[in-house]
């Protein structure tokens, strides 16, 4: 990662392509969840990479390039959300988040929708930790850096979120 950081800092296009392949899918999924729209996620993902280009001198010293990219993407997403603060926040649909939501099998599709509903029940800060942990592939320490929250708080949010989801799943299974 150190080598990638140095190449990014030198402004090598190939290094940015490598970084894109490393984390663009995960970043995009996170941005869809944050912004509630795949089109907006496309734009913000592009803006994230442009921001990385503009601040590339700092990248040589970055420990976790994925974590740092998530932090930039999060800032861009929050800026976008702040700009449209008068509109109600749009919630991403299951089909925008999970491949299984468009599956031919009805049961698979239903499971994806249920999970999306379960995730929607979480508080935003809990949901964000779950997204970053489970689908972003970040460690709790990286999530603490990305969200600028104390590590203990992040761990608590994650534990609470997992408890809520387990509870939801157990109840829906019994139903």
């Amino acid at each position: 990662m150190g080598d990638l950081g140095k190449r990014l800092a030198r402004g090598e296009v190939a290094a940015f392509a490598e970084l894109y392949d490393l984390c663009a899918d995960r970043l995009h999924h996170y941005l869809v969840y944050q912004l509630g729209s795949r089109d907006d996620a496309d734009e913000v993902l592009q803006e994230t990479f442009l921001r990385l280009v503009r601040g590339r001198e700092k990248l040589a010293g970055v420990e976790s390039m994925t974590g740092y990219s998530f932090m930039i993407a999060r800032n861009e997403a929050l800026r976008r959300l702040a700009a449209r603060s008068n509109e109600s926040r749009r919630r991403a649909e299951a089909a925008e988040l999970f491949l299984e939501a468009t599956h031919d099998d009805h049961e698979v599709r239903e499971a994806a929708e249920e999970l999306t509903m379960a995730l929607a029940r979480l508080r935003p800060e809990q949901r964000e930790v779950v997204e970053l942990k489970c689908y972003g592939g970040l460690t709790l320490a990286e999530i603490a850096d990305v969200t600028a929250a104390p590590p203990g708080t992040v761990a608590t949010r994650y534990r609470t979120a997992i408890g809520i989801l387990r509870d939801w799943f157990s109840r829906t299974c019994h139903d």
């Binding site: 402004g11 296009v13 940015f16 392509a17 894109y20 663009a24 899918d25 995960r26 970043l27 995009h28 999924h29 869809v32 795949r38 996620a41 496309d42 993902l45 592009q46 990479f49 442009l50 280009v53 503009r54 925008e96 988040l97 999970f98 491949l99 299984e100 499971a111 994806a112 999970l115 379960a118 779950v130 942990k133 489970c134 689908y135 460690t139 709790l140 320490a141 603490a144 590590p151 761990a155 994650y158 534990r159 997992i162 989801l165 387990r166 799943f169």
Partner: protein, 143 residues
């Protein structure tokens, strides 16, 4: 950090695959990245072509010194020129006043001073002539 709980997540979450970024987004993003890097490289090259700061400072200092020198020269010359102008004016005024004197005493004084000057010049010339004559003669000084 409780890393032992990092793998602790419900199977339901793991069972689902997140949607990926659209395939057409990759070339778009990388083209924008490439364009931004080229623009940044051009800006850097332009910056490098510009003279270094110390060189510009030196040029400015030289130009400023030159201007200050010219200014000081002009300043120095200005009172002198004024003084000369005033001296000529005073002399002319004195001569004009002397010329108006009915007894002509001042005029005589001026004429006398002028004559003295002329005489001084003549004496100097006479002195040189005397030296030349002495050199030409064979006579020696008698002790």
């Amino acid at each position: 950090m409780t890393d032992d709980m990092t793998d602790e997540w419900p199977d339901e979450l793991a069972r689902l695959s997140p949607q990926k970024a659209p395939a057409e987004l990759r070339p778009r993003v990388l083209a924008a990245v490439s364009e931004a890097l080229s623009a940044a490289a051009n800006t850097t090259a332009t910056r490098k072509r510009r003279k270094p700061r110390w060189e510009r400072a030196l040029e400015l200092a030289t130009a400023a010194s030159l201007l200050i020198g010219i200014g000081m020269n002009l300043w120095q010359a200005r009172p002198d020129a004024t003084w000369r102008e005033q001296a000529v004016r005073r002399a002319l005024e004195a001569k004009a006043i002397a010329a108006k004197q009915p007894d002509g005493s001042a005029a005589r004084a001026i004429a006398h001073a002028d004559a003295a000057k002329a005489d001084a010049r003549t004496s100097w010339e006479r002195y040189h002539q005397l030296l030349r004559d002495l050199a030409a003669t064979t006579a020696t000084f008698k002790l």
